[in-house]
Symmetry: C2
């Protein structure tokens, strides 16, 4: 029973995006740690929040410095992701024009040498074709960085109690302002804590999916070859990945203009709750010459 | 870059329904009132639950009977919805074949007379073309039934604390097994409490929308005319309403077969949490010859 005089149906994707934007304009800034119930209200609405200074009383926040870290990790090796431009796990156009999903070259480096490289680069402002970022996500703070684990909370109690699960992975990330994490999403509830320096997040809600132009990309990895880092195609399944960047770079879709990215800057001691399935892009502080640390307490709660 | 050899895209609506069905097969049955945090976990997942005997200690549950109610409400009038077949606010096919959204005839009746009618009809099993149902949703337990309000909880604490709102409406509904509430949804978080008798719910999650065949129906109301109840068309906006019935009646869509309705039977003292936007169809107990009562604590939490 289609009425020929009826107005055209609104595009449901455009309507979803504009309705969401109208109802959700900013993210909450708390000044105190939430209770489990208060946290669950955010989980329920799938909305991020920031707790300014939420980790100010952590021993890590109060005592860590480059020198302290070098002393505590003296003589130890850590896994370091190496890329020519700071773009680990990111879409990169190859010489023949194909957009590949390129993983970083990974190598074991002496922790002190790694730190010296990161600090020196930040101070000089020159990239010289090599950016180093300690960014493993395999629960590294309870493995290769276990010497430092006693200085951070062993769980985030409000999240552990609300979600009824201990942290699935606790990760420490160290980099400088040259490191950018490309827009991506994952299936975990995440809590980031900034220990030193700054980190800048650009966030998109899960329903902005139509904006990010996800495509199936052929996998590749950087390989050290004669002093240079070269992207090499790999066998294996294609990787679905966003080609669009909320800062306006990359190839968008007809809906990208309807995305309203939320920008959040974390400073020392700040805590960010990033709900499962949100898209986030991160980059280090460019004017504060130090390493950026993040703590990622990931609890798999996607499948209920 | 469409690959002609690629398999056809799965129908996203069918995939949504089958995935949801695989992840959500039944609803939880609790034996104790949840804490606000436990409740919020259900709100977060938009999942109903039942608390068996959750209102066993209410004065209403412990003391109400037909005689007690008639005594407490003696001499008072109440709003009663009258229909020929128990189908208030329901799609009804008119004589010329148009499906109308038909509201009941509403009239003020003496409470004792209303109760005698409801009980007598349930006992006799004969409808005789008139079904009466006290079903106003205008916070009636704090208005026309305020004489009874002291016997029920003035709020449901776990919901009030979790949702940070007092009940928006508290309603008492009285009917017999002839009354059926057609499949519908609303924007409120609902908690139903059965005080006497039984009520049978058939529930569908919000994402079963594609199954229910919602159509814009012309409004109508029953009118008493010469001893008969006749549906009369009304002016005013058309009403979007489900034509399909999870019991298999009504006209479905290509997706109706993928719906997995959940059936919940409430007995005396049982409590049901029905999340906002769920579809529900309700009918009274057909073998327990008494009136069915429900308590509806509605908290508008749709817009966050």
């Amino acid at each position: 029973m289609t009425d020929p005089a009826a107005p055209p149906m609104p595009n449901p994707i455009a309507e979803l995006l504009t309705t969401y934007n109208a109802l959700n304009s900013s993210i909450d800034e708390l000044t105190e740690i939430p209770s489990p119930l208060e946290f669950m209200r955010y989980v329920s609405r799938n909305r991020p929040f920031v707790v300014r200074g939420g980790a100010n009383d952590w021993k890590a926040t109060q005592t860590w410095s480059v020198d302290v870290l070098k002393e505590r990790m003296a003589g130890m090796g850590v896994n370091v992701a190496v890329t020519p431009k700071g773009n680990a796990d990111a879409p990169v156009e190859s010489e023949d024009g194909e957009i590949l999903f390129v993983k970083p070259w990974e190598e074991e480096q002496d922790f002190e040498e790694f730190m010296d490289f990161v600090i020196q680069q930040e101070g000089s402002g020159e990239m010289n074709g090599e950016v180093r970022y300690a960014q493993t996500q395999n629960d590294n703070l309870r493995a290769e960085y276990s010497a430092l684990f006693t200085d951070v909370a062993s769980s985030i109690p409000f999240a552990r109690i609300a979600l009824q699960k201990p942290p699935e992975a606790i990760n420490l990330w160290i980099g400088n302002s040259a490191s950018v994490t490309a827009l991506h999403k994952d299936n975990y509830e995440n809590i980031y804590v900034q220990i030193i320096g700054q980190k800048h997040f650009v966030l998109l809600p899960p329903l902005a999916y139509a904006c990010v132009n996800e495509q199936e990309l052929r996998p590749a990895s950087y390989v050290r070859e004669g002093g240079e880092l070269v992207a090499k195609r790999e066998d294996g399944d294609r990787v679905p990945f966003a080609l669009w960047d909320p800062d306006g770079l990359g190839v968008g879709t007809r809906y990208s203009g309807l995305a309203r990215p939320v920008r959040v800057n974390l400073g020392k001691g700040d805590m960010l709750y990033l709900p499962a399935l949100w898209h986030d892009m991160e980059f280090g502080g460019s004017f504060y010459p130090l390493c950026g640390f993040a703590r990622n307490v990931a609890l798999n709660t996607f499948v209920d």
